[in-house]
């Protein structure tokens, strides 16, 4: 369980996140939607514990975030930032194995190796295991980073459900790999974990998410089940665009079509 109460983040005189409250139950996939500058990434970084918010409280599995030790959190919670800047020539396999750091005593166990390769296989990156990370394309790098966070939360302690925080994980991926990445995240939530994911692709949100949080100007505009809340009316209010819902057919699920206003 991830609970946020009256979370407020300020930078100077600007309020980036304004008294936001919500709860995310275990076994759910929640998308965070909102226009650029709505405070999604700020909210995300506060949830990741990268800074102390000006007001409110975040708790994870019933314990306040600041009360958790970093090493404890790292065993069941993984965070994927929007972009990663690794310049050193590690191999792809080495990068994914870094995700196993919270469980390692200094050497790489056979189990770590198996989990790393399973995560690479999920991201369809097995063939790249021995390639040097800096030689990959942007989308390939992102798939390696996704494999790293999947490997990190593959063996959480029994008492804590794994938590996956993803900030625009599929922005640089091609359509097939967008599906693969979100399928992998979905597998984490259906196995009882918590997935919180920022996306801009509303149809991916419709397809994979159970819950949504809609942010605009730092405020929570809407939250609830995707099937009830992700309506053309919400999309129009959130993004200042025209939206139209196309009902599900034999071959395709229901989806949203957007047009400029």
């Amino acid at each position: 369980m991830l609970t946020v109460e009256q979370l407020t983040v300020r930078r100077g005189t600007r309020t980036l996140v304004d008294a936001v409250s919500f709860g995310v139950p275990v076994g759910s996939f929640t998308v965070v939607l909102g226009p650029n500058g709505a405070g999604k990434s700020t909210l995300f970084r506060a949830l990741a514990g990268e800074f102390a918010p000006e007001g409110g409280q975040i708790s994870i599995h019933g314990r306040a975030l600041p009360a958790w030790k970093r090493e404890e959190l790292a065993q069941f919670r993984a965070v994927l930032p929007q972009e990663s800047t690794l310049q050193f020539p590690f191999t792809v396999e080495e990068v994914v194995l870094l995700g196993r750091t919270p469980f390692s005593d200094g050497s790489t166990s056979a189990k770590d190796m198996t989990l790393a390769h399973a995560a690479l296989a999920q991201m369809e990156m097995s063939a790249f295991a021995n390639r040097l990370y800096p030689t990959l394309s942007g989308g390939e790098k992102q798939r390696v980073q996704l494999a790293r966070v999947l490997a990190q939360i593959a063996t959480p302690p029994a008492e804590y459900a794994p938590i996956l925080l993803l900030d625009e994980p599929v922005a640089s991926l091609d359509p097939a790999h967008r599906f693969a990445a979100l399928e992998a995240a979905k597998a984490v939530s259906t196995a009882g974990g918590i997935v919180l994911c920022i996306v801009h692709d509303l149809n991916l949100a419709l397809r994979y998410a159970d819950h949504l949080l809609a942010l605009r100007d730092g405020k929570l505009l809407a939250s609830g089940k995707v099937s009830d809340t992700l309506t053309p009316a919400l999309v129009e209010a959130l993004f200042d665009v025209q939206a139209c819902a196309i009902p599900a057919s034999k071959d395709f699920p229901g989806h949203l079509v957007l047009a400029p206003k």
């Binding site: 970093r70 020539p89 919270p102």
Partner: protein, 331 residues
């Protein structure tokens, strides 16, 4: 050990070892006299010089690994965090100030430790200043750290340049020694003075291999993987300052070792700190001792500043290695 203004043959060296280690007595009075002379040269000059070369080379190289890991930038050099420039600033200040009459009690009190002490304080001070300026919202920003490092380096260079324009001839020679580096002034006392500041960090650094690997992913990412990032960064800065400050204080500024040795090792063995740290220590130690040997050999009986040798030998090898498999990954 054998090479120098007083040549010592391998046979003589062996009989010295037999005499020292195995207690074998010299066979004649002439040989006994010769052995005593060799003994004095080896123990008072060449052995300390060799040890400082090994320790200094290992320290400069490992400090390079540390600062490159800290900045997550393969081009970061220990001088970037201000130790080298600050230490040189402290040293030239001491040289200039030691002329003044009121300074004499302090000069006598400190003895040979005056310059090393001043260099160490200068290095520590500028690191403190850079670290202070680089704090943004309670965290150390790498960009601010690098920019502050550039500013303080420029300030220190200007300061040293100003003192050089006011220096007399004897002081100029000393300034040159400080800016280009030499192992020529090393005695057992200097070896003893730097031993704790270099040996202790060299033993601690390998323990930081895993957190340093994770830190390369990024500071936020390392935090999410359970690393106490702020504590790690402070520890790396303190260890690097101790090592580089101590070495610079007895040898002057020897460039290049801290920048290039970690590069070489990374190009050959990859960026994993578990192998990078010990391998860099080894290569750094061998590089500095070889460079010192060349410095004494090429212009015998005079010496070329060792910093020139390390740059002349290191740069071409570095360019060649850049073309290896690992090297193609640099962008």
């Amino acid at each position: 050990m054998a090479y120098g203004p007083t040549p010592i043959t391998p046979a003589e060296f062996l009989s010295w070892l037999e005499w020292r280690l195995l207690g074998m007595n010299p066979t004649s009075a002439v040989e006994a006299q010769r052995l005593a002379a060799i003994d004095a040269i080896l123990l008072a000059i060449r052995l300390p010089r060799l040890c400082v070369g090994l320790l200094g080379g290992a320290s400069l190289a490992v400090a390079g690994v540390g600062s490159q890991g800290l900045f997550r930038n393969p081009l970061a050099d220990p001088s970037l965090i201000g130790v080298t420039a600050g230490a040189a600033m402290g040293a030239v200040t001491a040289i200039a100030a030691s002329q003044a009459a009121f300074m004499q009690p302090l000069v006598e009190l400190m003895g040979v430790f005056l310059l090393p002490g001043a260099a160490f304080i200068g290095g520590a001070f500028s690191v403190w200043a850079i670290y202070h300026f680089a704090k943004v919202e309670g965290r150390t920003s790498v960009v601010h750290l690098l920019l502050a490092g550039i500013a303080i380096n420029a300030l220190a260079l200007a300061y040293v340049g100003l003192l050089i324009t006011r220096a007399d001839y004897g002081q100029l020679r000393e300034f040159q020694y400080w800016t280009l580096g030499s192992l020529g002034a090393v005695t057992p006392r200097e070896l003893l003075a730097i031993l704790p500041f270099t040996a202790v960090p060299l033993f601690i650094f390998p323990l930081l291999a895993r957190p340093l690997n994770v830190l390369l992913l990024g500071e936020a990412e390392a935090g999410h993987l359970g690393i106490e990032v702020q504590r790690l960064k402070l520890l790396v800065i303190v260890l690097c300052t101790a090592m580089v400050g101590a070495v610079v204080s007895v040898t002057g500024v020897i460039g290049f070792v801290g920048l290039v040795v970690p590069h070489w090792v990374r190009l050959l063995l990859g960026p994993d700190h578990k192998t990078l740290i010990p391998a860099s220590a080894l290569v750094g130690a061998l590089l500095l001792v070889s460079a010192d040997w060349l410095a004494r050999l090429l212009a015998s009986p005079a010496e070329i500043p060792i910093g020139i040798i390390t740059a002349l030998v290191g740069a071409p090898v570095f360019l060649l290695l850049m073309r290896s498999r690992r090297g193609t990954a640099w962008s």
